[in-house]
Symmetry: C2
Subunit: 324 residues, 2 copies
């Protein structure tokens, strides 16, 4: 009696594809669908109901937990993740954690009970054991937990590039605005690379740490304003995200501080708005599209039971615009 | 014998809540869960397996089809939709259509076969019959189809406000940059309100229609550049989305055209970046949060079999900043 494997082989497709045709799941071209049906008819294939129900239980759903999709970085990342996921037949459940531990936990529980096949974590408020206890494949962004693959950009090198550029441009009074220093988060390496590079040139910057649970423009604005009030002679600023730097451009413009003549600004991410600002924002570009694609591919491999690389660090590039 | 309704009544909750507790779905506080269990025990309630399996088949999933979540308007809208949906126990499947008819159709088919309970449509490339044939409740943004509820802002009045402001500011050579004129899309009323108001003052603006399937900054930039090349004496510009207007700010800055002294700019939406630009962008504010909440509430009511208002037009406000 023909098995699903026989059908797949004869039709020249994978077992997964035959299953998708049977269960009407995923994106199957009409040509493939017809070919599979034709082969099933030829071989007088009778779906094994138990097997079919087991295979059919693939939800093809992935959960994506991010602080907020309204933040341009996460919006762009979510876009690339969804685009690639849908090309593989996956659907994306989007979850805004708003950096709230309870919400993040609720989402993880919800995702578990909804048979998502994998979880992409872009929000990191929970303790490590919450992640390691999960059955589902999980991939994190910018967080290193033993046993869980991560995707990140080369944060340390990004910080180095930023420091080198400010030094090269002759900055003497340098400031850093970053998230709360936290060695668990790989994004922290931006600050580390930046500070170590400056220190090696005997430069000691002003360091301002933001609360890690804040993504409010009003807050960023206030922090930059305070910095420039207390240190009006700052001539170089590295902000560990473009959103902070964009708010810095706004503040500088409002107080008549000329960029780059009086102060040079560097951000991090290269969200679309970096190039839309006046002056254009010099920034460290994270390869967002590649990162999104990679995260989905890692989950896809984990779901298939394959081994994957744990540490996935993608290269960054400096994009120089008019703010330096 | 106690029914699920009896349990609900005694526990002071809805039948849906009791069902969620039984099926471990949705966000139930620990207190509520304990109360429901206590009442079930007291009343010696035995779940009706058939009824339970039927109720348990509520997927509590909503599909959201938007052109792209990377676009700030849709990112902010998606954020408000997801926040409110999750407070009601719904999960959101996010679908980027990229304004591709085939993709939109695929998503609708996928959503149908995944038992989403409702679909929120922010992307409108398909013919009307594709929507009217759907079983699921559907709510559209900015599109009026008989029998399908829509949510929109008062587009016509937004256009009127923009025209009145440019007139009040003394503009004589006015331009409009809008999407392709299409009476099926309610967003088109922005242009209509704008043009009718200008015409009533015997003003005849230059009108530039963009392709409706483009959300590319490079394209917006080129269109604005061409406009200013051909008509360097334009002194007032209304763009029917902030993203177009933000690109106009960039172009004007790059060619040394002073805003607002030489040209006054008005956008539409009031995305977060409108206030981050220099100069700050005057714009017509869409009440995005209310619109997102309303869309979810409409679906929720439709799912419950209740009647809803078909035409849901929320008021807009003019937000004056430094670009006018």
């Amino acid at each position: 009696m023909a098995t699903i494997k026989d059908v797949a082989e004869k039709a020249g497709v994978t077992v997964t594809t035959v299953s998708r045709v049977l269960n009407n799941r995923g994106y199957i071209s009409q040509a493939t669908r017809e070919k599979v049906y034709r082969v099933m008819k030829e071989m007088q294939y009778q779906p094994n109901e138990i097997a079919r129900s087991l295979i059919g239980k693939r939800s093809m759903m992935l959960g994506m937990i991010i602080p907020t999709v309204a933040h341009p970085f996460f919006a762009e990342l979510a876009n690339y993740i969804e685009n690639h996921a849908s090309s593989l037949g996956y659907k994306i459940l989007i979850c805004n954690s708003r950096m709230d531990q309870l919400k993040e936990k609720e989402y993880i529980d919800m995702l578990k009970s909804n048979r998502v096949e994998g979880i992409i974590m872009g929000s990191h408020t929970l303790d490590v054991h919450e992640y390691t206890q999960l059955q589902q494949p999980i991939v994190t962004f910018d967080r290193f937990i033993t046993g869980i693959p991560y995707v990140s950009s080369d944060n340390y090198h990004g910080g180095v590039l930023a420091a080198e550029l400010l030094i090269r441009k002759g900055c003497k009074k340098i400031a850093l605005i970053c998230g709360r220093r936290n060695p668990d988060l790989l994004g922290d390496l931006r600050s580390e690379g930046f500070l170590k590079t400056l220190n090696s040139k005997s430069l000691e910057p002003i360091v301002i740490e933001l609360g890690s649970d804040v993504f409010e423009n009003v807050h960023y604005e206030r922090v930059v304003q305070n910095l420039l009030d207390e240190h009006p002679d700052v001539d170089g600023l590295f902000a560990t995200s473009d959103m902070i730097a964009i708010n810095a451009i706004k503040v500088c413009s409002s107080i008549g501080m000329k960029i780059p003549e009086q102060i040079k600004l560097i951000g991090y991410d290269d969200i679309q708005f970096a190039s839309l600002m006046t002056p254009g924002l010099t920034t460290i570009k994270q390869p967002l599209e590649e990162m999104g694609i990679l995260a989905v591919d890692l989950i896809d491999k984990l779901v298939a039971g394959e081994k994957v690389t744990m540490e996935n660090k993608l290269p960054v590039t400096m994009v120089e615009r008019s703010s330096t």
